[in-house]
């Protein structure tokens, strides 16, 4: 059974579509990330699920039931906001207890439940603190406990880590994942950070301009992006604009490159080559079955385990990641020959 389902949902503000014909289903207990650039409609989608907005077209279902005409109050969704949104006039304990009190939960059930939630997020000793006395990361944990207290049908998180600094962000990310796995609650996690999305989700839906471009496992999205937008969004990629000639052949400028044989129609598209799949060919080696691109080193960035080169090939900048164990990395302005094998060049739709 699906936890959340969107059926051809659209939402307009004035004349412009914020969400356009989106269909999406999230399995019960699944962790799905909605990722995409700012303004692509992620928050709007989340608010449609929560019930703060009603779709202009289409339908939202929770646990198989249509939510048409069902208000936010009745939907039983847990929401975590970017700015924590803790009630400043209530203690940590009372914040977490809020949803139980509105449901008139008896004190002898409420108290142990709140305490259990607080210890789950590691804040059992701050129960009587005021929100303002906590760090941002701690406040967001309280917000998470508060949202989970009502045993929601779905947990909705809207960029919950964006306001935190990098270190807290990374640790809290995995804690959210752990808590979600333990509680088994269907979760939609909104973020604009592809790395965050790929690292914690069961499945990722990538949005652009109100539409979903691709849905799939993080591995799928990373290895087999459906088009150049996805390829560009998920990680550093070289995208060469050219023409697919069919049969594993790709025309780029004056060259014919041998690439992966994909079921794409012939015609204009982009060739995706990951920086770490490109190597430097020795000066006089034969090309073998690989492709050779001669170029000039135009930049070098030290990235810890990696050395990233920017190589100018006929005016196009191509990124190359080398392991930093290379004995002698090429010098700046040195003329080199880049090599990549046909399996590592993947034509993707769009340019």
């Amino acid at each position: 059974m699906t936890g959340v389902e969107l059926r051809s949902v659209s939402k307009r503000f004035g004349k412009t579509y914020a969400v356009r014909n989106v269909s999406l289903s999230v399995g019960k207990g699944e962790f799905l990330s909605l990722v995409g650039p700012s303004g692509c409609g992620k928050t709007t989608t989340l608010r449609l699920v929560a019930g703060f907005l009603a779709p202009d077209e289409g339908e939202v279902l929770l646990n198989g039931e249509s939510m048409g005409g069902v208000g936010v109050r009745q939907r039983q969704v847990g929401i975590v906001f970017q700015n924590y949104a803790l009630f400043p006039n209530l203690t940590v304990f009372e914040n977490v207890a809020f949803g139980l009190r509105t449901r008139n939960t008896p004190e002898d059930i409420l108290r142990p439940k709140v305490e259990q939630l607080l210890s789950m997020v590691g804040l059992d000793r701050r129960a009587s603190a005021w929100p303002r006395e906590l760090s941002g990361g701690q406040q967001q944990r309280v917000a998470l406990a508060r949202a989970l207290a009502i045993t929601p049908k779905v947990l909705l998180l809207d960029e919950p880590l964006s306001a935190l600094d990098a270190k807290v962000r990374n640790s809290l990310r995995f804690e959210i994942k752990r808590i979600q796995r333990e509680s088994g609650i269907t979760t939609i996690y909104v973020t604009h950070d592809q790395e965050e999305a790929l690292s914690i989700s069961d499945r990722v839906a990538l949005m652009n301009e109100g539409r979903i471009e691709q849905t799939g496992s993080p591995r799928d999205i990373y290895l087999r992006p459906a088009n150049s937008f996805v390829a560009d969004f998920v990680g550093v990629n070289n995208l060469l604009e050219g023409e697919y000639l069919g049969d594993g052949r790709f025309r780029w400028r004056e060259r014919i490159l041998s690439v992966e044989n994909v079921p794409l129609p012939q015609g204009p598209c982009s060739l995706m080559i990951r920086p770490e799949r490109i190597s430097i060919a020795s000066r006089d080696s034969a090309s073998g079955d690989g492709n050779i691109l001669p170029g000039r080193v135009s930049g070098k960035v030290f990235l810890g385990p990696l050395l990233r080169l920017a190589v100018d090939v006929e005016g196009e900048q191509i990124l190359v990641d080398l392991l930093n164990t290379e004995i002698q990395p090429p010098a700046l302005d040195e003329e080199i020959r880049l090599r990549f094998s046909p399996d590592d060049g993947r034509p993707v739709a769009g340019r």
Binding site: V72, R73, A85, F87, P88, N89, F98, A143, I150
Partner: protein, 277 residues
Amino acid sequence: MERRSGTWLLLLPLAAVLGLFLLWPLALVLWESLFIEGRFSLDNYLSLFVRKLYRESLTTSLVLSASTAVLGTAVGLPLSYFVHTTRGRAKNILLALTAVPLTLSGLVVGFAFIVLLGTSGFITIILRELFGINPLEFSAFLFTWRGLVIAYLYFLIPRMILTMTAAWSNANWSLVEAAVSLGAGPVTVLRKVLFPMLAPAILAGSSLLFAVSMGAFGTAFALTGTAVKILPLVIYTHVSELSADIAKADALAIVLTLVTTGVILAYEKFFTSPSSR
């Protein structure tokens, strides 16, 4: 250290203006109020508590100001929300209209009320023609302190609206959304989220309303002459009439100042201290 003295230098012009036009006159008033026929005495102040006129005028002023503060808040609050939710041009027009009563002299406001609701006022006449009311009975109300409450509200409600529109736009609506998603109904949202969130602004607004009506003079003067005994009018009679008693007027002015600044200070103390929540 250097930065600090620089800051002080920048404050100098402000300090000079405040000193010259606020503190110095106030000091003069205080000084004068402490002498009777050249001798130091607190009698001016003691008489304020003894003489019926003064006791009554202080009470009337306090009751009048408290009523206008409460009513102005009660009416201004929903109106300010309405203004806040209005969009585009309509909002600008509403805000401009709200500002108009603030620019009018109190005397103008007073006369406007006489023209509308006085014994031969516009509305009074219409009501007489329609319902046969007695104009004298109807407008007698206008010249009592209760009538003043109505007239004061005319320029106090806009003050409340302006104070609150700022508060509405700074409001954190995620709190309301969080509460609703947790199952809170309108009453709970109002009681546990909106009221605590807006309380500081509401109190700031109502203490402003209180302070303004304590000191308002023109409207009361235009409507009632000096018939209604409120502090500003009593001070006026003491400086203007034949029986002038400047020292008494000074003492009254000091009391008036103390009450208004007291209200403002109490507000500051309760709601802007760092430990407040």
